[in-house]
């Protein structure tokens, strides 16, 4: 019997990857906080998660071998533009304080995903040792 890491680890690896990708988007917002005409962007995590939960991880049924495998990763999250509270004259919609809070939020959530994953791994290790 083999251990399927996909089943054992659940949604967390994808969540971690999404957090990482969101961190990248937020980093580019902060890097471009002074760039004229730059529009702040973000990933909508909750809508992606809802989509995943409703459709279920199964996705579309494959009734033939030639059918393409539908991807069930969270990485297909859409990048959306943020609506600024106070737009600036140069067309830049980055608000540094909002980006900072989002970045803090994202890094805590990244930590959480990482902790869950570590928990899963230590559970697996306990199962393997059988002590």
């Amino acid at each position: 019997m083999t251990i399927s890491f996909d089943n054992a680890l659940g949604l967390h690896p994808q969540a971690l990857a999404l957090r990482e990708r969101r961190g990248e988007v937020l980093a580019s917002n902060l890097a471009n906080s002074e760039t004229p005409e730059y529009k702040a962007r973000d990933l909508d995590f909750s809508s992606v998660l809802r989509k995943e939960m409703n459709v279920g991880n199964k996705g579309l049924n494959r009734t033939h071998n030639a059918h393409f495998q539908t991807s069930n990763t969270l990485l297909g999250g859409e990048v959306k533009y943020r609506i600024p509270n106070q737009a600036s004259l140069d067309g830049n919609t980055v608000e540094a304080h909002i980006e900072q809070t989002k970045h803090a939020e994202n890094s805590v959530q990244y930590q959480a995903s990482l902790t869950f994953l570590n928990g899963k791994f230590s559970g697996l290790m306990t199962a393997i040792r059988g002590e």
Binding site: L16, G23, V25, A31, N32, S33, E34, E99, L114, N118
Partner: protein, 138 residues
């Protein structure tokens, strides 16, 4: 590799902001550099930033760093002052002072240093995250 592109993004932000700080330093240092003609007088220099558009339009890449598009000299009029006793005065007795607004430059400096700090913060947080991820399962 995608994992490390956040370092490139934060790095490009730091690079851009440090160039801006350099220009502010140059502007403030030359704020009183008097000259005897409009052509020779120092003009305030400002950076022009742009997002890395090729990456912005590519859907597979989420982050985009900052590109320094160029440095422009300010078009604001230089200050012409009648001062015939000044050693740099031209034959009509005028000297020319740079169009540097020191108050604006001070504000610019603060903004640049705060933005730099933001980028450093992003860099540090990402580094911590990746180091922790490398230790995953131990």
């Amino acid at each position: 590799m995608s994992t490390f592109s956040v370092f490139g993004i934060a790095g490009s932000g730091m690079n851009a902001q440090s160039l801006r700080l350099n220009l502010v330093a140059s502007n403030i240092a030359n704020a009183n550099s008097v000259s005897s003609s409009v052509e020779e007088v120092y003009k305030s220099r400002q950076p022009v930033f742009a997002a890395e558009l090729n990456k912005l339009n590519d859907k597979s890449k989420t982050g985009s760093g900052v590109r320094i598009k160029g440095i422009v000299e300010s078009d604001a009029p230089t200050i012409m002052e009648y001062n015939p006793n000044h050693p740099m005065a031209n034959k009509d007795g005028y000297i020319f002072k740079p169009n540097v607004d020191t108050i604006e430059e001070m504000a610019n400096m603060m903004s640049a240093s705060r933005s730099y700090q933001n980028n450093v913060e992003v860099f540090n947080t990402s580094k911590q995250q990746i180091l922790q991820t490398l230790r995953m399962g131990q």
